[in-house]
């Protein structure tokens, strides 16, 4: 029971790291990026390829995945994404679906369609018991890493100059630009970091979620759930939503395996029915 809860939390934290970049693009640029999972997949593949073909140790792969996908994001933002911000949502959806299809087929072409496995280092395998609660080592590793990331993100957003610039741009890009902030640069940086986090999440999650070319399609809905249920105006919203999702999904699949992913979808629809702006949206938000 508690093990289940623990697994759910680990899963939720992972989802949070994967989806937080999406929350930012959505809240900041009002851009529906269905291709977010493609960045996560990129991170996962960077890790797998670096480990299996080049023999890079796992811990070194994680920052590698982050940097690699962040660079990818920084490359794509000014060339492709920036033109999309002002377009209608239909265009954004079509555009990002197109990117997903390309990513799926591209990975299929270069790496192959089989499931990729990650060899975890010895010290992360197995589990230990605390008060008769079995806890997977790797899962606690995920929780620690993601927890640290969350705290850092929150700190950056709340206490640094860049954080306040970002928040200003979220609230009103035009006024922020008028005050002399380089909104484009902030967008670029944020997008890159968001993609990097997705890549890191993909690298961490390759073992838990599985990694094959259809990854972006399979988990797209999960990322979107986190963001739409959590709302995009705060960090805590998506975090709580991700935890809720993780626990509901793990518990649901354990107790009622017949129903599978049902519980999550139903939960989402019900929540969105009652609170279309997300569970934790600020009242009276402009968007």
């Amino acid at each position: 029971m508690l093990t289940l809860l623990f697994d759910g939390i680990a899963y939720g934290m992972l989802m949070f790291v994967l989806a937080v970049g999406l929350a930012v693009t959505l809240g900041l640029m009002n851009f529906i990026n269905l291709a977010h999972g493609a960045f996560a997949m990129a991170g996962g593949y960077i890790t797998v390829l670096a480990m299996n073909r080049l023999g890079v140790p796992f811990l070194l792969c994680l920052p590698l995945a982050f940097v690699g996908t962040a660079l990818l994001g920084a490359l794509l933002e000014p060339t492709l994404y920036r033109r999309m911000y002002a377009k209608p949502h239909l265009d954004q959806v079509l555009f990002s679906i197109g990117l997903v299809f390309m990513a799926v087929a591209g990975v299929d072409y270069f790496v192959g369609s089989m499931q990729q496995n990650i060899q975890l280092p010895e010290w992360l395998k197995g589990r230990f018991d605390i008060a008769w609660v079995g806890i997977g080592k790797y899962r606690s590793f995920i929780i620690v890493v993601c927890g640290v990331l969350t705290v850092v993100l929150q700190w950056v957003l709340a206490n640094t100059r860049f954080g306040s610039q970002l928040r200003a741009s979220v609230d009103d890009p035009r006024v922020a630009g008028g005050l002399g902030l380089n909104v484009n640069r902030i967008f670029l940086l944020t997008f890159a970091v968001g993609s990097g986090l997705a890549g890191l999440g993909g690298a961490l999650g390759a073992e838990v979620l599985g990694l094959d070319p259809t990854f972006p399609l399979k988990f797209m809905i999960y990322f979107l759930i986190v963001v739409s249920v959590g709302g995009t105006t705060t960090l805590t919203g998506p975090l709580l939503a991700a935890l809720l999702l993780g626990i509901a999904d793990v518990a649901g699949k354990y107790y009622v395996p017949k129903l599978g992913a049902f519980i999550v979808y139903t939960l989402m629809i019900v929540i969105l029915l009652i609170r279309p702006q997300g569970l934790f949206a600020r009242a009276g938000g402009g968007k």
Partner: protein, 320 residues
Amino acid sequence: MTAVTQGLRAHASWRWWEFALLAVLLVSWLLLPSHALLLNEVAILALFALSLDLILGYAGVVSLGHAAFFGIGAYSAALFAKLVMPDPLVGMAVAVATAAAFGALCSVLILRGTDLTRLMVTLGVASILYELANKLDWLTGGADGLQGVVIGPLLGQFEFDLGGRTAYAYTLAVLIACLLLARKLVHSPFGYALQALRDNRLRAGSIGLSVNLRLVAVYTVAAAIAGAAGALLAQTSGFASLDVFEFHRSAEVMLVLVIGGTGYLYGGIFGAIVFKLLHDLVSAWTPQYWNFWLGLFLVVLVLVGREKLMRPWTWFGAKR
């Protein structure tokens, strides 16, 4: 007759190319008997895209889960034929009714929230149905698909043959019937009200239109037509499988509609023809990576501006 009614009449009157298009559709059955199977697929896709056009092009609802209704139609037609009776027309009626009822039920979900919420909810509904069809394997055959569906002869005398001529005639009849119905609908006061609320929901509401009621109505009609398309697929192929609910299908139909152009009813037909041709061409060349080219096409399409696709004369020439 006032100027306004005159204007509306003129807008609703038949154009020459609409007659031409219908004529081409009919003639295609006579002249291309060897391609009937392919044409059948095109017509089903066109019908599906037509139903999406009603909610996307006219009511402005962005949906990522339109396959839900397509799948409902396909499975209910197949199940009805397998368990109750094989007559295709009764099966069609049942499928359409089921899809419409389900559409009415789901329409409550799209009334509130932003585009994102709507995307999520439609996507979620389609995913739930996919899971449902997957898990209820005693009824739907699960991942193997629903096999052993035997469809009786059309009107009691025309068997569905391997060449697909009966199937295509049947599909064509349903397509044209739905097209006429949709045409009637969008040129009625109801259709104009839809366009008003697409352009500005708040304003439409404040001039006294009941926005929600109309959204429910159009969503139900669109679901019914999508159900008809699904039923056609199931009946003409004698098979229903999980892929009718897949995300791919929802995305594909959106692309088809966008290729053809939204908001004038015929976009689905043109889009379906172009899409199938493209699909056949690219698949013949590189079967496995068709998705890549599809994706590239989408990206380029949006970057260039999708409204330009159907207006070749704007491709070259000075920018304003």
